[in-house]
Amino acid sequence: MQLTVNGNSHEFTVEEDMPLLWVLRDVLGITGPKYGCGIARCGACTVHVGGAAVRSCQLAVGDVVGDVTTIEDLGAGAIHPVQAAWIAHQVAQCGYCQSGQIMQAVDLLQRNADPTDDDIDAAMSGNLCRCGTYPRIRAAIKSAATAMRGA
């Protein structure tokens, strides 16, 4: 099986139905995407496949079409503007959900350069944060949107 992750090509042999999450974490050692629920109810495992956010715990590796990007390479070697906004607002508490939150927010901002509160609610409500960082996530998305529109 072959997969391109963060610009690198990997070959490995696993079951076709193994979730992408576990291939990334346990076969390739890419641990930014997290296991939180295993049933696509928390979003901690969110990565980009072909540029769009997906829940990697529910995507069989045999069904992956396109290149995979994880939090580790989101900014292609630099800090992505969404990550910069997250840092500036000091969003993270335990931080465990934030890889997924950031990957989901980048997906939103790629589709919608100026999201309203309702747009943010619709895009982000599948990503669970147990620490209660939602107000800062909302603020960081708005800051990132402004920064990215200006760029």
């Binding site: 079951e15 193994m18 979730p19 576990w22 974490r25 346990d26 076969v27 050692g29 641990t31 930014g32 995407p33 997290k34 296991y35 939180g36 629920c37 295993g38 049933i39 109810r41 928390c42 901690a44 994880t70 939090i71 580790e72 989101l74 800090i79 990550q83 997250w86 840092i87 000091q90 969003v91 993270a92 508490q93 335990c94 931080g95 465990y96 959900c97 934030q98 890889s99 950031i102 943010i120 609610d121 619709a122 982000m124 409500s125 599948g126 990503n127 669970l128 944060c129 147990r130 620490c131 209660g132 960082t133 939602y134 107000p135 800062r136 996530i137 909302r138």
Partner: protein, 747 residues
Amino acid sequence: MGRIKTIARRSFLIGSAAILGGVAFGAYAVARELPNPLLKGLGPDEAALTPFVKITAEGITLIVPRADSGQGIASLQACLIAEELDFDPHTATLDPGQPDAVYHNGTVASDGLPFPLYDQSGVANAARATVQGLAKVMGLQITGGSSSTSDLHEKLRQAGASARETLKEAAALRSGLSRADLSTADGAVVLPDGTRIPYTDLATEAARLDPIQDVALRSPDQWRLLGKPMMRTDMVAKCTGAQVYGVDIRLPDMVFATVRRNPGIGGPVLGYDDAVAKAMPGVRAIVAVTDGIAVIADNTWRAFKAADAVQIDWGAPSYPATSAKMWAMVEANHSEENRNSRLRDDGDVTQALGTSAPVTAEYRVPFLAHAGLEPLSATVLYTPERLDIWTATQVPQALRDKAADLSGVAAENVILHVLHAGGSFGRRLDIDYVLPAIECAMAVPGTPVQMTLTREEDMTHDFPRPIQMARCQGLVRDGQIAALNLDTIGPSVTESWFGRLMGAPPGPDTLLVAGAFDQPYAIPHYRVSGYKTPVMVPVGSWRSPGSCANAFFHDTFVDELIHAAGADPLAERLRLIDHSDSRRVIEAVAEMCSWAGTAVGPDRGRGIAFAYAHGVPVAAVVEVALSDRGIRIEKAWVAADCGFVYDPVNAEAQLTGSLIFGLAHAMNCELTYADHAPIQTNFHNYEGMRMYQSPQIEARLLGQAAQVRGLGEPATAVAAPALGNAIFAATGQRLREMPFSNTMTFA
């Protein structure tokens, strides 16, 4: 404090036990300076100037012994040291260190005494000093109870100052100058001519000196970092995927495992059939562990799948099988012989209530899971000579000792690698999730094993916040609250948790009544009693333990009585509270929301709640609106006073986040039991709060209280009563049982 009546101290047994303990250990054991554990195994060019600061030619390592579960305490510990040590804490390596008595937590121990934390009387403070001495002698190292900042803020600044002066002394000896002529800045000693000698160049020389300890701490007006907006040291790593949690450890030749333990906690394994599972791809071994089995495989997913394929015959545990039976047990134990404490008994409640028809109410709270987003895990490498454990824990000392007992490896050869936790909320005060990983590792000596619980196993095997109920009677007269009696009834977290870790202490269980007995109200006839029921399901501390149930009972009943009296909820609370720090947070929240009563227009309502929790007075106002889809929690205002605020950006996050945590669980979370195990096992039926439900929040810290206290928990205590009181204002319906979603629909 004038009008607050003396707290009854009739059954002051914990204190007595502690005093006896202090005598037995002797004054010397309490007063002596503990040895610096870092001095063992230092290299020739390494200096451990205090138990918290290690300097080598390569860099500075700070020992930050309190565990970080997201509350930001790793960063704050580093900043407290760095303030006096004059360097950038972001350049240091932060190491939780090995468990040691020098890192004991005296505050968490003394906070359990049967005195409200606002009681600064001589008796209360003498008892606290005794128990803190006992914690030191026992080496009690715990992160919990919002105690870290309170316990460490002076110790760590002192450590930084001592290290700084010792480095200056080394530079003075090298340069032939006097220490008084030297200064420090940005990680270096600076000579009068401007020459900079980096601390790292002074390690070898500083190591030969006796640390200089008699150093006056700087005053707050000299601080560069503390009290100002600071960047948390873990922020960049947590926003770039670089933070390493327990589940992220990757070691050479590591194998992956998972465990299935009896869903009825403590019940036996009667037998199991692993024939199918053994033949599945990647499975290395199936191991019998305490109360269950573990699968070791070459990746986590294969371990999960194979564990599902093991057929296991479980025996029943000793507690009732269903929530209904457990509630019946709680009700049946509300009897005089089960009364454990009466730590508040002002006036004459019996006589006062006997003279007229009282207001009565009964409240209930459900079992709750901790459900940190990172499922519990541990990675263990065992050899007969040495045991290495990578995990996140709040009780490293207890973990090391239990791991030594289980593995047969001497305690000094048990090496802990304590990591940041992806959430805990009190769950990691237990060590049960590490023990089966040790059993797995003992089955494959020399091979590291990473054991991860499935989310379902994590929730099934939680030690939940217990069910608890309160029965209340009160009397209003002339528009005022005249009498309040509150009986709180439930399983004891203290008995259950201490029983698992070190044996339950005797005496009144203050946690059972915390958030009710210790409220600074001056009600003429005022009584709070705690009734202990059997433990049943083993239970644990859950963010704001005690007060997460009792503040809901107490404040909601206060609200009911004020309504019965026809008074304004905010004004009557202010009238009854005779504690200036507490009054100030209520006045602050009133100003923040421009309080003008509970009515704020059609289909809307506001509720206020107040609690004194974990030594912090906190008040919140919640505003709800009714919509076609149900109740929306639209806005919240919260004010608290934890004394001086060292890290204001993070403190605001803790205050806001802990309020959301409380609102989330009040809204829609519960564990209900069938066949001895919770029905709720994942986030599809244990939802919590989502982005679309999260209200606008304004938070304020007053910074005026004399004592420095922690902020991880207090606002959780006021969230549920503020929400319930707001819903009452909007709908006229009084919610007396959590979660509210069993009664109301939320949008």
